[in-house]
Amino acid sequence: MDSDFLRAFSEVIREEVAQKNEVKLEGLGSFNFEHQKQIQKQYKNGRVVMMPPKDRIIFIPEN
């Protein structure tokens, strides 16, 4: 397991997830792409703000 392999691994995960593909790792879990819509939210001090939408990478562990 050398650094070239790790770099390639990171790149593959990044590229696939960016294309909204799910990447399964047997024995660990899977990486998924998730889009979060903009949401309205209230801070404790009463300010109401609209949070921008967001794209995220999430990991779902295997059970």
Binding site: M1, D2, D4, F5, L6, R7, A8, F9, S10, E11, V12, I13, R14, E16, V17, A18, Q19, K20, N21, E22, V23, K24, L25, E26, G27, L28, G29, S30, F31, F33, K37, Q38, I39, Q40, K41, Q42, R47, V48, V49, M50, M51, P52, P53, K54, D55, R56, I57, I58, F59, P61, E62
Partner: protein, 360 residues
């Protein structure tokens, strides 16, 4: 689409150039080591990807900042927008449509629509917001921070800009000079000052952030507007020139930004590793670039020629999106996302709102 182990291995074989057995072995080893570290309560970090650790008996993954930014590149840099006054009315409407109105209201609209609404709302309310913020004295100016330092240079000009409104107020004050403690007078003064500041702020915003027309254009534009506003008083025509001069002063930073861009070009020819202009430096293997177009190969090539003739450092990258290949035209080579973001502010206006930063 889900990538299973076989597909993952073939992708890794493509990337690394080693054989499938070797990749399989290394992948199993990696998975084993991640699990091992997690079971021992340690975290396992992969550079450029993120960190795995065990939390409540569940394996958790926290993406690296760089990865997070890249995945989120469509929305990077967007900030929460404060909802005030008029906009709340719109929310009430939305609440009526949905039977229950919990705080996270998601409207059934396309993203593009929502974004458009967002930004148009942002612009129209900017002046209003500035006014409200300034009316509340003693409050700190969160959002208006950039505008404050410039404000002093505009104070001479600003009162004239709102002359039609400011005038009656001033006269009223003169009419009742002895009623210094009159609260109404004070309130009027405060309101006038707030209005002046708001207009000044808006004007600065206009010049400072959308300044792509030339300086002479700006001046004539400025002179026109000021003249029409102050026309009732001929005396003020002389001061119009002063404001014109100040406008020029105020817009100087923009001009100098343009100059430094040119300088960069001159300097970049022999050594500069990274930059927006000049020739592509092939010795740079990784970095960031500002993508301004995504199209087919011929069009991308044509645009590359055009932009290169304008002095930009242009590169074409191919990307597979939903099964078809696009050719992305990127400008500049930058060592970091921040540097690329900074440079993207200097791009011609047509690219200003329509670009994203990508790693190469």
């Amino acid at each position: 689409m889900a990538i299973d182990k076989d597909q993952l291995i073939s992708l890794l074989v493509e990337k690394t150039g080693s054989g499938p057995e070797d990749v399989d072995r290394q992948l199993s080893q990696l998975i084993f080591r991640i699990r091992n570290a997690a079971e021992q309560g340690k975290s396992f970090e992969i550079e450029g990807l993120g960190t795995f650790n065990l939390e409540n008996d569940q394996l958790q993954f926290t993406p690296d900042d760089v990865l997070e930014t890249e995945i989120n590149n469509k929305y990077t840099g967007m900030k929460p927008i404060e909802l005030i006054g008029a906009f709340k009315g719109a929310d009430v409407d939305a609440g009526d449509i949905e039977i229950t109105g919990p705080p996270p209201v998601e409207r059934p609209k396309t993203e593009a629509e929502i974004e458009k609404e967002r930004w148009s709302f942002d612009e129209t309310s900017a002046a209003e917001q500035a006014r409200i913020e300034k009316a509340v004295f003693g409050k700190t100016f969160d959002d208006a921070d950039e505008e404050i330092p410039e404000a002093p240079s505009e104070t001479v000009e600003a009162p004239e800009a709102v002359e039609p409104k400011g005038d009656p107020v001033v006269r009223k004050q003169e009419a009742v000079p002895e009623s210094d403690e009159d609260p109404i007078g004070k309130v009027l003064t405060v309101a006038a000052v707030a209005l002046v500041l708001a207009v000044a702020g808006w004007l600065i915003y206009e010049w400072g952030f959308t300044g792509s027309y030339t300086m002479s254009d700006q001046n004539s534009l400025q002179n026109q507007t000021v003249q029409t506003r102050t026309s009732p008083r001929e005396v003020q025509v002389s001061t119009v020139d002063v404001t014109g001069g100040q406008a020029a002063d105020g817009s100087e930073p923009i001009q100098s930004a343009g100059v430094t861009l040119g300088d960069d070009e001159a300097i970049s020819e022999p050594p500069s590793r990274y930059g927006l202009t000049g020739e592509i430096n092939n010795s740079i293997s990784t970095g960031y670039t500002i993508v301004v177009h995504s199209l087919n190969l011929e069009k991308a090539r044509a645009i590359k020629e055009m932009l290169h003739a304008e002095g930009f450092r242009v590169m074409i990258m191919d990307a597979v999106v939903n099964g078809s290949t696009y050719y992305r035209v990127g400008l500049g080579q930058f060592p970091s996302i921040e540097a690329a973001q900074q440079a993207s502010n200097q791009l011609p206006e047509k690219f200003q709102n329509d670009n994203f930063i990508k790693r190469f």
